[in-house]
């Protein structure tokens, strides 16, 4: 049986997490179908059909799907799911919101945030903030899975030539409606997929200093900006910057933790980074236990020096 991947997109572009999810799906079978459900989403479907490894694109284009409301998307996915052995979505806020609702109506478990595929029914997933990796086996007929995107390579955005098949039947469930959104506008790379991430913590002291110190360094490095929970709770950075157990999980080539002590909940979100740099004035901060390179010092003097060095 084929594998169904639910694409995350904004009606015009496919979000990067979808590409990692396609790679996870390919470990389960060669026939990977991608559902693009939205409104006026032909452009997204057009991008979807070019993704390497996708054999078919299902296009559900309906006004009720303009925003990814789980109440409206679920009946469509549940209906399609019955023809598949596995249904996958990225473990983003989109996938985490949608797939448990789908799984419950299929009367199957959902397997959250897998980091490895052992076989068609056996998967590895982190528990206890990533301090333990559990290998779990599903006894359900349909496996409904969210995928930790940093654990799988991104599928190529070109090279595929999938057929596009229209799917009808999407309707407004009449339970929910979209009101508004406040999205962080940035020219920086997407946090979850960035090659370099610069994160700031409580030691920044204010939103102004966060902006004045963290952002220039990020821009110098072409990096995304992240933050610890403490910095977000204090209002120094928006919620979507949070890296950690309950925020975003990142695994960049380089992670620079500035003024972050390194609570286990934060480490859960970044310890798979290739190279970790920590800058903290507390020599005993737990962040140094996972850092490849550490500087013990006041970030407000170290960061200007770092900017100067990087400009040389």
């Amino acid at each position: 049986m084929a594998i169904l991947v639910i694409a995350e997109h904004d009606n015009s572009q496919i979000k990067s997490g979808t590409l990692n999810t396609v790679t996870a799906a390919q470990k389960l079978g060669s026939d990977v179908h991608l559902l693009v459900a939205g409104a006026g989403c032909a452009a997204a479907a057009d991008a979807a059909k070019q993704i390497a490894g996708v054999s078919k694109v299902l296009l559900a284009d309906a006004a009720a799907l303009a925003h990814p409301l789980a109440e409206n998307l679920t009946p469509l996915v549940v209906d399609l799911a019955k023809q598949y052995s596995h249904v996958l979505a990225p473990a983003t806020t989109f996938g985490k919101n949608l797939l448990p609702r789908v799984a419950a109506l299929l009367d199957v478990a959902q397997i959250s945030e897998i980091t490895a595929v052992e076989s068609a029914d056996t998967f590895v997933r982190p528990v206890y903030a990533g301090n333990v990796m559990a290998t779990v086996q599903s006894s359900d007929a349909i496996k409904v899975i969210t995928v930790r995107t940093t654990a799988f390579e991104a599928a190529a955005v070109s090279g595929g030539a999938a057929a596009v098949e229209a799917v009808s039947g999407a309707a407004d469930a009449g339970l929910s409606s979209f009101v508004s959104q406040e999205l962080t506008v940035s020219d920086r790379p997407e946090l979850a997929a960035a090659k370099i991430v610069v994160s700031g913590g409580r030691a920044l002291g204010s939103a102004e200093q966060f902006k004045a110190v963290i952002e220039p360094l990020a821009d110098k490095l072409g990096a995304a900006v992240g933050a610890s929970r403490a910095a977000v709770d204090a209002g120094y950075a928006p919620n979507d910057y949070q890296v950690g157990q309950t925020g975003k999980v990142v695994a960049p080539q380089l992670y620079v933790a500035v003024g972050i002590s390194g609570a286990i909940q934060h480490l859960a979100g970044m310890k798979d980074s290739k190279v970790i740099v920590a800058i903290n004035k507390d020599e005993e901060a737990p962040i140094f236990q996972v850092a490849d390179y550490g500087i013990v010092g006041d970030l407000f003097s170290v960061l200007p020096e770092l900017m100067t060095e990087l400009s040389k």
Binding site: N131, V179, T246, K274
Partner: protein, 249 residues
């Protein structure tokens, strides 16, 4: 308006768990247990709704072993009016909990069910969404702001790109994110008073729910440890290392 709040007893967030020597499971014997932090936020939100005159009764519910009573007493001390304990020694996975919670919701007929977005033990992030699905209700997940209207609720959700607000018809299921509120510190007189509040018992059998696990844990292991690296003296040395040694710049 009645609010149902679901709370889970989990290993305290400050405890770093260990894997049993045989790799069969996590060793949780003799470790500190607490209410799941996200569920504390759920209880707090319900109590604030009551204090604002919007909720009339708060019912706390927990599923699991006998000691879940302690977790329910904490919810009562925070301000819940009464508690329901679905007692079982069976392993409960999110789908089973959602089925139990659905049955409790059908009996209690609340306008809102509030629970944490995820439990910090299994990190599943499923129960609220599954409960909403089984009830056929709307779901407001990862809530950072809740505004009750007439027959509806506006929920601001923490999503990957920022914030999104949706309007849900009532009854609805809400799951809490970190910024929704800061739970109160429970005072001793409230702990004493909570001991006198009603706590009713029921069971999966009473509720007619089959809680058989669908996922079998084959093994658990600790992930590869990162070893601490080196301390460098200054920014110049750091940049040199990143360029020449790590080759990431």
């Amino acid at each position: 308006m009645k609010v149902l709040v679901a709370v889970k007893r989990v290993v305290d967030y400050n405890v770093k768990v260990r894997v049993k020597a045989d790799g069969s499971d996590v060793d949780v014997a003799n470790v500190k247990m607490s209410m799941n932090p996200f569920d504390e936020i759920a209880v707090e939100e319900a109590v604030r709704l009551k204090e604002a005159g919007k909720a009339t009764e708060i019912v706390a519910v927990s599923m699991g072993v006998k000691q879940c009573e302690e977790t329910l007493r904490t919810a009562l001390a925070m301000g819940a009016d009464r508690a329901i304990h679905v007692e079982t020694d069976a392993e409960l996975q999110p789908l089973a909990v959602a089925k139990l919670l659905k049955q409790v919701a059908v009996k209690e007929a609340p306008q809102l069910v509030i629970l944490g977005k995820q439990a910090i033990d299994d990190d599943a992030n499923q129960t609220g969404q599954m409960t909403a699905a089984l009830l056929g209700w709307a779901q407001g997940t990862f809530a950072s702001k809740v505004e009750l209207g007439d027959g509806s609720v506006n929920v601001t959700r923490e999503v990957d790109g920022g914030l999104e607000t949706v309007k849900l018809s009532l009854p609805a299921v809400l799951t809490t994110d970190l910024r929704l509120n800061e739970p109160r510190y429970v005072k001793l007189p409230n702990i004493m008073a909570a001991k006198k509040k009603p706590l009713d018992k029921t069971s999966p059998a009473d509720l007619g729910v089959d809680v058989t696990p669908r996922l079998k844990t084959l093994k658990v292991a600790e992930p590869a440890k990162r070893s601490a690296g080196v301390k460098v003296a200054n920014a110049a040395e750091l940049v040199a290392k990143l360029k020449n040694e790590a080759k990431v710049l």
